[in-house]
Point group: D2
Chain length 441, copies 4
């Protein structure tokens, strides 16, 4: 192990603001996996491998055997919510997991009770919580959150804590002056500036304590200078935005493939139907806008119409999300992609993804929590853009353009892990083959 890397000693607390479908599925899955009732499929940290050594790799260990991650046995969950339901109740209500699996781990789930949330309906019009901190200012709210974190750490005898935002999408906000510096932000907290959304209060509380914070929603949250500066000041890893689950996941898989083959794209229509709480929140136009902005950028970055005007200069990209209660958490997407090839002849691709929102999000929550903790122990702080593999709209360092191609994102993630462990970073697999080719010749 790298010298400066701290080992994963003691217990790791994972705090989740928003104990709804995604959070309860994550928690239940980790507990079920510990009891060997189920497998943490979809989690790269738990089931993935990494190629090490020359060429295509002569070693291929599990990620969890290669880097010193916290073990599932050492993880303790907690969180906040706007309803008082414990995690068993929340998971039962979410109807994602089979009730019989939930019953088998009922005591563990019932033991996890939310702390009162920081919430303001002005940012999420379609929800109305009942279990909410009453404070005069956002500054006071942040102080209470800090106390919550400390109490949680102490009561559970934890050595480290990380936070992953699993709460709702907030209404669309743009960066303003109050977000510019730590000082302006703290002043804003004190005078209840409307540009400071609840998720920012959580991020501020966490980062000011040195607790890593990853944002799974498309909200600004950590993507403002004030929080980035604070993260550098307190040497804390941060990251975001928006878990890359169903439709965007497919998009960042398929688009690089079309680009690889120099196939043109002149239209991409994406629609979604989902009936969970997330769908309800996004049924409001202001909240949808936040999501839409997060999702729209993906294609442009991958296809680069600026460099390939003949292929992508006319691309029309439209995204719709529809609240559709019959589907519950079983989010379904349908994409129509209008492509063209040789002599501009048109062709079409239709993709229908019958996915499950929380099933796809849960392993992402787990991986991001474990990697954020790892980063902190490795002495890395500020924006962790090497985790963009998991995110729809990656926050980058210094305003660099985001990488959205999932294959390049995965390469980056692996290279960083190799770097951490002082393994040889791998050249693109082609190189060695080329040499072989030439030797033959």
């Amino acid at each position: 192990m790298k010298e400066q890397m701290l080992p994963a000693e003691g217990k790791l607390g994972i705090l989740l603001p928003g104990l709804g479908a995604v959070a309860s599925t994550t928690i239940a899955g980790v507990i079920a996996s510990r009891k060997e009732l189920a497998k943490p499929i979809g989690s790269f940290t738990q089931t993935g491998h990494i190629e090490l050594g020359e060429g295509k790799g002569d070693r291929y260990p599990f990620i969890k055997d290669f880097v010193p991650l916290a073990a599932l046995e050492d993880v303790v969950f907690g969180g906040w919510d706007i309803y008082e339901d414990n995690v068993f109740q929340a998971a039962s209500h979410a109807r994602v997991l089979d009730q019989h699996l939930l019953n088998a781990i009922r005591p563990e789930l019932e033991a996890i009770k939310p702390m009162k949330a920081v919430f303001d309906r002005n940012y999420v019009k379609n929800l109305d919580g009942t279990f909410i901190k009453q404070t005069a200012t956002k500054w006071d709210a942040a102080q209470e959150l800090k106390k919550d974190i400390e109490t949680f750490k102490k009561e559970n005898n934890l050595s480290r804590v990380v936070i992953v935002w699993t709460g709702s999408t907030e209404k669309y906000l743009e960066q303003t002056a109050v977000h510019e510096t730590i000082a302006s932000f703290e002043a804003g907290l004190k005078n209840n500036d409307a540009a400071i959304a609840p998720s920012m209060v959580y991020a501020y509380a966490a980062v000011s304590m040195g607790v890593p914070f990853i944002n799974g929603a498309p909200n600004l949250t950590t993507d403002i200078p004030a929080i980035v500066q604070l993260a550098h000041k307190t040497k804390t890893p941060i990251g975001g935005k928006d878990f890359k689950t169903g439709q965007t996941l497919m998009k960042t898989i398929v688009a690089p493939g079309l680009a690889a083959r120099s196939l043109g794209v002149n239209g991409w229509f994406s629609t979604n139907i989902l009936g969970n709480r997330d769908g309800l929140v996004l049924d409001d136009e202001e909240n949808f806008k936040t999501k839409e902005v997060s999702k729209l950028g993906v294609l442009e970055d991958i296809l680069r119409p600026d460099l390939h005007p003949d292929l992508y200069g006319e691309l029309y990209h439209k995204i719709r999300i529809n609240y559709y209660p019959p589907h519950g958490d079983n989010k379904e997407s349908w994409d129509n992609i209008d492509i063209f090839g040789w002599l501009n002849y048109p062709m079409q691709i239709k993709i229908n993804f019958l996915c499950r929102d929380s099933i796809l999000a849960a392993p992402i929550v787990l991986d991001l929590a474990l990697f954020a903790d790892l980063a902190q122990r490795a002495g890395m702080y500020g924006v962790q853009d090497w985790l963009s593999f998991y995110l729809k709209s990656p926050q980058t360092q210094h305003g660099e353009p985001a990488e959205n191609d999932i294959f390049k994102q995965l390469n980056t993630l692996k290279q960083v892990l190799r770097g951490m462990m002082q393994e040889q970073t791998q050249e693109a697999p082609a190189v060695k083959r080329t040499k072989v080719t030439e030797k033959v010749i």
Copy 2:
């Protein structure tokens, strides 16, 4: 340019055995592109770029400006067919391209007349040609092909010739003793060994003359020791098999994406409907088998069930091709993919690709011809597995496992091109980013 690389001086002949839909679409497209009536979309050599330099690349030239490819202006087409139709007639009959475009280049297309084919209905039961060489032995047929090639070269004043097989899928053959050595193969030619299919006769003729030969069908053809040995002896590039067009193209895009995310796959059902001559040929069971074997291997190589038994150990992969005349050349595929994620919960992906067989294949024919010629001028010979990007079932050197992941294939292709031009081979993009991350810290 690399010192030992020969320049692209003079004219390049591209000979196509099988002047049907794919070949005529390729030829018409190149001519139309030369006249600026259309664009060669989908051709990496004509529209693609390559990243050069440090990190994400500080230069991004067109491929055709980077490596010394033959220019479209310098290309001359010819070929063989089992029908006497000229290319205008063949293209009109194929109904792939708009008749008005064909009319606009009618004289150029009419001028290209097939030479008599080497054909044997025992290998393609559903076709019955009328324009076929009558020879006593396969050896004699090879001699006639060699004469054809020489005549073509001379009459058109060419400096170089390459051959890309655009003919039909032949019936399933397995490697036998006759394929083992040059000597056994030549003996087989002379005594009309049944294990020597017509496509092998073409490959033998070409390679024995030092003419590069690329195989676009799933037939064995060049994938036998005799031809490989001959290619080394005559220092000729060879490659194959089977153009990667519609459904398999999508498969090698999507499967790496699922693997990236550690999502399990327990079923993948692929069906195709097409109504062109290719569909008719594949309606015969023996010919379909050749295709099926070519298509089936793809998933196993990408997903590696041996390394990830929890994710892919139960994978059931089924492929069907159906002759369906109403669609003509508009091949359509439908895939159902049964995946599973967190705690083994099932999800499904359906992909419906309304493609056009020849539109997708034509730029591949062009690129393979140009790259095969480039390889020869670069002094590369034997199996050109760096071109696997274009192929469904890549023939490899020394029995190495094939790489089917399209993103890795593209990396390889680019690395080889960089190597040819003595540019720095690129590390995976992650590396530089990591260092930046660490510097910030």
Copy 3:
């Protein structure tokens, strides 16, 4: 022929307010059919048959041989538009029909020039016309339309005229006091009442002259008491609303099938993408609402949740229309239908309809025009609900519930035709069979 039925003597003028994609496709198709360049497929009047006689029918003549319809040779087209383009220009711009077909009938199409439209952007925000009547009041506009109709009739030496609205969807309006009586409506015309949309001005002008008027958009138009009363006063056939083309057509086919089998439905999500002028108009929320109301009622009428609460009591029906320019007139719909069967087990049906808006609408325009003319000659007037077969949201007599099941609609249409010609109305086909069964016994 029925005694009181007037024969189809002389020429029939068909006037179309809105000479866009649908109208120009209709006109071009009729002209091309007259010249035998193409066939009027999809037109029940031109290609359909009718069963006559006992049981399953012992005769099966063409509709056009059974009832005295105007012949295509006797039809003369005209219309109004907000752009000055002649029909050749309009059809070329619409990009529905192949340009070579249009060129073949160019003189006939160029000869059809629009008259200036009655238009008000307050009702169609996303369009902005340049060829519009300038009048002080809506009353004056109606007088000008009446003059247009008379002039058209005289100049073309017509014996009869009908009007089919092929213009845009207007913004959502509800019935108000001004629509209640002829008198209140005429007063409203004179004082420019905002509740009188342009389409109503056309309807008023037509019906006051005894010219049949059928409404192909979801606008109220003729569906107000004032116009119904006027139709009875002037003995004029009227009808509407909204041509039943793509998605709703499929819906009224599939829903009766599910109901037949007592399969439950708890969700039906319908989305559309289209890029023609219709799509642009519906991109505005107020105009979409008019369409949505028209489309939403269909399921409830067919499935009758009031009578089958166990099966349809929980039905959630959502419709979306998206403006998507890459598709032009090639409207595409995608439906997800959540059904349930035995013991409430869920199943899903997905329907993807790659249709062409104007190709589906054109034969409807023709049939409605010919049948409206036939009705008038048969002495039928007021609301022609027997034509609901062609309409998404049928206007009915006396507020009766609409019939939306396409199979019942077709039965009705045929029964009315049989009645007109004093043929025996057919019993449901079962009856005779039953008797046979009993005879056997």
Copy 4:
């Protein structure tokens, strides 16, 4: 009630040859419905209504309140199988119904044990049973079946018995001389004629005892003169063939809709994937042929290319069934329909039906059993073609052409029920409307 109709007194035995997925789902569903644990959705006899009286109907009672059907409480199930599993085991193994539902009715299911089957692997190559009657001749086998039926009737104190074939598809057979008369058939039974399949032995045994027999597979079974003659001799209702479940159900819904609108069809490709025992059986070519013949006829009958050559003269219809274990009983179909409209412009419809084979079949089994019993009590015998609503390839009387349009089939079924109860048979709904229209005028 009709005078000659016998009431539904006493208990009704339903015997099912083949206690696999379909049969066990039927049985479990009826028992669960009796206990009000679930609802018999999809069953027309249990949830359907019927219009009675004038016009659109002034009464609308439940079917089960209108005709004297056997009540679910009075039904007793039994059957034969080639494995010894009781129905609880069979249902658990089939994995159609939730295990928790099965556990809730375990004792009732366990009590139903199969009798030894008449089976011959020559007719179903992919199955190999272990619980099979050993008899010297097919005649002896028939005698044993008759004893089984009598014993079952006696032990359960039943007043009536019906049989519905829920066994496998047998290999393709054509009608031969042995099937021509009762005498030739009985001779064939005695000398083990190869043209007599096991399902015919069951049919013979049942019908010779006056027990109604309905065939749910595409086998010939009752569709031979010998059995029809026997049915007339013993005054027994018979019927078949092949339950109309997923894809064909959709086809007989959609095709009448396309025909209604005079839309042309030039291609219809249908593929299926399923992984249950039925799928395994149909993976064999000889058995698939039986199914294919049953499924192929449907379109021709509905579209009548003979009468509409312009619309359907070129129709290419292809059907594929693929064994695909990952899906189990969750059969999935995908259809591509190539249609054309106005001026022959092409359009496409794709239908993806994610259905459940046994869930769709179970209510059909129940309805057919109850209606067959009703028919017998009503004095109807011979081929019951009024039940064609439920069948893919309806057996008809006197070689009449089959009716496959599901809407006409439903009309027939209802008319027969009305006739049984001496209710006025309903005219097509149009008629009254027309008169109203004319009155208004």
